[in-house]
């Protein structure tokens, strides 16, 4: 697997083992140095956020900055709960996230099943159309969507953020189709001989066999709905319906001077579920992304 150019250097020159050994150690050292550099760039901003979130109002404005605050202000996190209606925002975000995930997984898998397991006229054209819609930036249709939802009386409700998710998302359909194609057709045929209908095959055979990819999709959907900002910003004005991402903006604008320590605590709280999910479900992340890449 590790078909690497650096390993190759030792292949041809085994007679001069001493020198290549040193050379290999040196290249290994450089390799580690680069890896450490990349890792630091990746995690230092996160640590900086946590560090700032535990500082006092004055502590954040100290030069040079202290990484470990002398007197960590855990109460900053309490402020996040009390200064904005955190639990209302949390509830709204949770409703959108849960219903969004369920909707997109069910609808996308139904469509992907139709595209990958059933032969019908025009299925190829439909598939390319689905791929083509992936190219359309959602912002292109935001004005007419707003107008349509306004007509329906859906503005200032959670509906515009949930209902469209129940009609399949192109990216998920694509991903699931790729996966379903790899499941042997003989399974369907055997089930059909046993008298199972198409829906039964979908529900009892295809879905259970696709758990890893369904998990991957759910996780990405979670990240998307949890962090979505653009759509809530447009469709929600009512304070009682705001999501956490909108709430954190309140936090920024409700003070005359930005309270960076509270803001960092709020950011950390929003990101926490994503980080936890990542550590518990890491293999599904990698799976989801590598399935999506080509092929």
């Amino acid at each position: 697997m590790s078909a690497n150019a650096t390993n190759m250097s030792s292949v041809g020159s085994s007679s001069r083992k001493g020198r290549t050994g040193v050379k290999r150690d040196a290249s290994k050292l450089i390799w580690y140095a680069l890896l450490i550099f990349f890792s630091l760039v990746a995690i230092v901003p996160i640590l900086w956020m946590v560090s700032s979130s535990l500082k006092t109002n004055l502590g954040v404005f100290m030069v040079p900055a202290k990484w470990i605050p002398e007197d960590p202000q855990w109460s900053n996190y309490l402020h996040v709960f009390t200064d904005i209606p955190f639990f209302t925002y949390f509830k709204n975000t949770a409703i959108i996230t849960v219903l969004g995930i369920v909707g997109t997984v069910i609808s996308s898998s139904l469509v992907a099943y139709g595209l990958s397991r059933i032969k019908f006229k025009g299925s190829n054209i439909i598939f390319y159309l689905i791929i083509a819609t992936m190219m359309i930036p959602p912002q292109v249709t935001i004005v007419p969507q707003f107008l349509i939802f306004k007509q329906l009386g859906w503005i200032d409700s959670l509906k515009p953020l949930i209902v469209p998710e129940w009609f399949g998302s192109p990216y998920n359909i694509f991903l699931l189709r790729q996966f379903f194609i790899g499941i042997p057709k003989s399974l369907d045929e055997a089930a059909m001989i046993d008298g199972a209908g198409l829906f039964r095959i979908y529900w009892r055979i295809i879905l259970p066999l696709s758990k890893p990819v369904l998990a991957a999709i759910s996780i990405f959907a979670f990240m998307f709905f949890w962090n979505d900002f653009f759509k809530p910003l447009i469709f929600i004005n009512d304070d009682s319906l705001k999501t956490l991402t909108l709430g954190i903006m309140d936090f920024k604008s409700s003070f005359n001077i930005i309270q960076w320590n509270y803001l960092m605590a709020a950011s950390a709280l929003i990101l926490l579920p994503c980080v936890l999910l990542f550590f518990f479900a890491q293999r599904y992340f990698i799976k989801g992304i590598s399935v999506s890449g080509l092929k």
């Binding site: 292949v11 230092v44 139904l110 819609t133 930036p137 007419p144 349509i148 653009f230 903006m249 960092m264």
Partner: protein, 288 residues
């Protein structure tokens, strides 16, 4: 398997309905509204191509296209290069590699407002970490988000923080390259650079294309960073096209003009994607 049109269309019906209501109709609707003047309060008046005429005279329109294009043309290639570099670093059997993969991927699970907040604070000219670190090397950092010469660059640099997605795809691509190709090239006496140039790169070219197309599509959607961190400023230096659409539609309630700009965004993405595929025909090597 025999054909079953009814069942097929039944299963894909959610997408068809969704497409008609939430994509197809809105796209057509966008084109239609762009011919009207409409502030949501009064009845829409048909003004033909006036919105387009207005657009071609609007310096902010040109500014927003410029900002979006500069961002795309700098951030997408940089993201692809950095993601490929990271993937090559991680594609080696060394101790603790799993830990490095986790750490380098971690920022990519973070997105949206919270990340924009972190970076606003990182870029703070006086108390932010970025200038602090530059200070160690005796460099007096710029004002970043407060300086029109650096604000867009700040957003480009920030986009390099979360390259985990393309990186994992590159990693999968690298692992698909069979070992014998390297061995054969090595026996022919190819140097490391030549191995990279004549084996790795051509074999990775479909992955490069995929990541570039995805990067391009996403770069045209930049909104949250600009809205939260700079509000389009200073001096409109980060006025992305999507932000300008948002401002026209939902701050000034000029639905017609916002739709006109949306049409242009649509056409730009379309043309650039087609162009990218056309160009790639010359460089991408398909081996499957």
């Amino acid at each position: 398997m025999k054909q079953n049109n009814l069942a097929g269309y039944l299963f894909i019906s959610p997408w068809i309905i969704g497409f008609l209501f939430f994509t197809g109709a809105p796209v057509l609707y966008t084109f239609a509204i762009s011919g009207f003047q409409w502030d949501l309060m009064s009845t829409p008046t048909f003004i033909g191509l006036d919105n387009y005429v207005k657009m071609f005279k609007d310096p902010l329109f040109y500014q927003s296209v410029k900002v979006t294009l500069i961002y795309t043309l700098t951030s997408v290639p940089l993201q692809v290069i950095v993601a490929m570099l990271a993937a090559m670093l991680l594609n080696k059997e060394l101790k603790a590699m799993k830990l490095f993969r986790t750490l380098i991927y971690l920022p990519s699970i973070m997105s949206g407002v919270a990340v924009a907040m972190i970076w606003s604070w990182m870029y703070n000219p006086k108390f932010g970490l970025v200038n602090d670190v530059l200070g160690w090397f005796g460099i007096a950092g710029p004002e970043w988000l407060f300086d029109e010469k650096f604000s867009l660059a700040a957003l480009v640099l920030m986009s390099l923080w979360s390259i985990g997605g393309p990186m994992v795809i590159f990693l999968a691509g690298l692992q698909d390259i069979p070992d014998y190709m390297y061995e054969a090239a090595h026996l022919d006496g190819a140097s490391k650079f030549r191995l990279f140039w004549h084996v790795t790169l051509p074999m990775l070219s479909p992955t490069v294309l995929f990541n570039s197309v995805m990067g391009l599509i996403l770069s045209f959607q930049v909104f949250t960073q600009a809205y939260v961190m700079t509000g389009g400023g200073p001096s409109d230096s980060t006025l992305f096209l999507v932000l300008y659409i948002f401002l026209n539609g939902f701050k000034y309630f000029d639905m017609g003009y916002a739709s006109t700009l949306s049409v242009v965004l649509f056409l730009m993405v379309f043309v650039l994607t087609v162009l990218q595929f056309k160009l790639s025909k010359r460089f991408v090597h398909y081996d499957r």
